[in-house]
């Protein structure tokens, strides 16, 4: 090794390359054409950074480090490979919480050591510690909720006050530690326990439908915590990657909240439906059922069909059948498009992933802005397992909790076919005025079975 080539130079240069690869990778992930290569680039960056870190001078404990990496990595590999696409949101929450926990662990080692490395460093360690810990316990709760391990949203009077109290106490202990007034292990432990509690009590009252926004927020939190601990360790790769994720995650959280017609404060501090009363607004008219064979004929002779899938479709695992039906209609010369509402699925973009899994090419899939003007010229709008996102009440009824939410204009199509399991209201408990329109017909049954019948009906025309 030549004299100028020190281990430190190799490490710093490699971290620089890693930071560049991360940013380019994220950039490529922002377009469907290049997205796949994006994760490969970012992955290469991660591999480079991890390998050169072994060159760090004066490191020990390899006997603990390597098994820990192998076990953590293997478990994550195994769980990530076998998770169903419908359960992706909670897996993201889980992996994100792990990152937050790791950042908190770095902070804990620094603070328990109590080396007094300077007020600035200690303050950054404390800040990263509390943010990382909240992200850790909060993400764990988010995972448990989406996985169905916790089904109730715990709410009581004075909850926000209690959270505020926990936060304030944690901050006081954090200041004691950072200012070296009392950095005893007891105070440090109290600080981390309170931060853990805060993450739990902050997340428990939030309903399942808002969870994606919360996961995205905690994703930004973890990024920020990683950046802060990067400052503590003087690690440029962590600073850059953590900060980029912190700001990108914040923006993504805002975009998601906006797509759901909620403000972030609203998501965090009030349960859904707390402001409005459930099931408002009378809807006149009757529900008009239709048989699959009749819909089959209608579809077979349609020029233009727009399919509106909702989470109900994914639950029924009907996406493969729907793609089969779509191919059948395309072969007959019809124009078929998929209209995806931003909140279709469990989080924005989740429905696209579910359709992609079934083999639907992304250029047949359009978002709200692209497709809304097209409904007027569509012969059939096929609503499968979607409800609130096509409810015209959102445009007209000011007293409705979903008033103002952008919706898909399915009601403008010549014929509206609604595939639905039963007669119940949507997630929000609001009656759907669309179902009662003159051009609407209800096709009751399990989505997978019904679409199978439609395929047979179209084939026999």
């Amino acid at each position: 090794m030549p004299g100028w080539l020190s281990a430190d130079l190799v490490i710093q240069a490699s971290y620089f390359v890693t930071a560049v690869l991360f940013i380019l990778g994220l950039k490529r992930m922002s377009s469907p054409v290049t997205a796949r290569s994006g994760i490969t680039w970012a992955g290469a960056g991660m591999a480079v950074a991890t390998l050169v870190t072994f060159l760090y001078p004066g490191m020990s404990n390899y006997g603990l480090m390597l098994p820990a990496m192998a076990i953590g990595g293997a478990l994550a590999w195994w769980s990530g490979k076998r998770v169903a696409m419908t359960n992706i949101p909670q897996m993201i929450a889980l992996y994100n919480g792990m990152g937050g926990g790791a950042a908190a662990a770095i902070a804990a080692i620094e603070l328990y050591r109590g080396a007094g490395t300077g007020y600035v460093t200690d303050t950054l360690a404390v800040a990263g510690g509390i943010i990382g810990t909240v992200s850790f316990s909060g993400s764990a709760i988010a995972f448990a909720k989406l996985q169905g391990l916790i089904t109730r949203s715990v709410r009581f009077r004075g909850q926000q006050l209690l959270n505020l109290l926990v936060l304030a106490t944690a901050l006081v202990l954090g200041v004691l530690v950072a200012a070296s007034l009392d950095a005893s292990p007891a105070v440090v432990s109290g600080f981390f326990v309170l931060a853990l509690v805060l993450g739990i009590t902050m997340t428990l009252p939030i309903g399942g439908a808002d969870m994606p926004v919360v996961i995205s927020l905690y994703n930004a939190f973890t990024g920020l915590a990683v950046a802060l601990e990067g400052f503590v360790l003087n690690n440029a790769a962590m600073i850059v990657a953590g900060t980029v994720v912190g700001s990108a995650g914040t923006l993504l959280t805002q975009l998601m909240a906006r797509a759901m017609n909620r403000s972030l404060a609203n998501v965090l501090f009030s349960g859904f439906g707390d402001t409005g009363q459930a099931a408002t607004g009378e809807v006149s008219g009757i529900l008009k059922p239709i048989e699959a064979s009749d819909v089959g004929v209608m579809l077979a002779f349609a020029q233009k069909v727009i399919i509106v899938p909702g989470y109900g479709m994914a639950v029924a695992q009907a996406q493969h059948k729907i793609w089969e039906l779509t191919q059948l209609l395309l072969d007959r010369g019809a124009q078929v498009r998929f209209a995806i509402h931003p909140v279709a699925g469990r989080m924005p973009g989740h429905m696209n992933v579910l359709l992609a899994e079934a083999g639907v090419p992304y250029d047949l899939i359009s978002d709200l802005d692209e497709i809304n003007s097209e409904f007027e010229t569509a012969d059939v709008a096929l609503i499968i397992g979607a409800n609130d996102v096509v409810n015209p009440v959102a445009r007209t009824d000011k007293s409705s909790p979903i008033y103002g939410m952008p919706i898909l204009n399915a009601d403008k199509a010549k014929n509206v076919i609604v595939i639905k399991r039963g007669k119940g209201a949507g997630f929000s408990g609001i009656e759907n005025a669309l179902f009662y329109l003159d051009n609407s017909r209800m096709l009751y049954g399990d989505a997978q079975r019904v679409v199978g019948e439609l395929i047979q009906a179209v084939k026999s025309v």
Partner: protein, 103 residues
């Protein structure tokens, strides 16, 4: 690295993150969140350094937990993102072949 330089890096990286994401279509929100989730798995290098410098039993225990969690973040984030993005394809790439993603 002096404090001010670090602050500048922080500021520039924050704007970079914002710019990179700002024009992303909704269809990529979930994969992108997963991708950024992977990127903060870089905490692994910090956890490795922290464990590498641990002396007391307590520091070692926390260090091992940190490395374990960080490795899970990095590997899990990569696998899930790669699976999702691998499924996105254009109809020009050949319609008719249905999804072959292994269950």
């Amino acid at each position: 690295m002096t404090g001010m330089v670090a602050l500048y890096i922080f500021m520039l990286a924050a704007f970079t993150g914002y710019e990179v994401i700002s024009r992303v279509p909704v269809i990529l929100h979930t994969p992108l969140m997963s991708g950024s989730n992977f990127v903060h798995g870089i905490v692994l290098v910090g956890a490795m350094v922290a464990l590498g410098g641990a002396h007391t039993p307590l520091e070692k225990i926390i260090g091992v937990i940190g490395v374990l969690l960080a490795a899970g973040n990095a590997v899990g984030g990569y696998v899930v993102t790669e699976r999702m993005l691998g499924m996105f394809k254009s109809s020009r790439a050949g319609r008719g072949r249905t999804g072959t993603e292994a269950k």
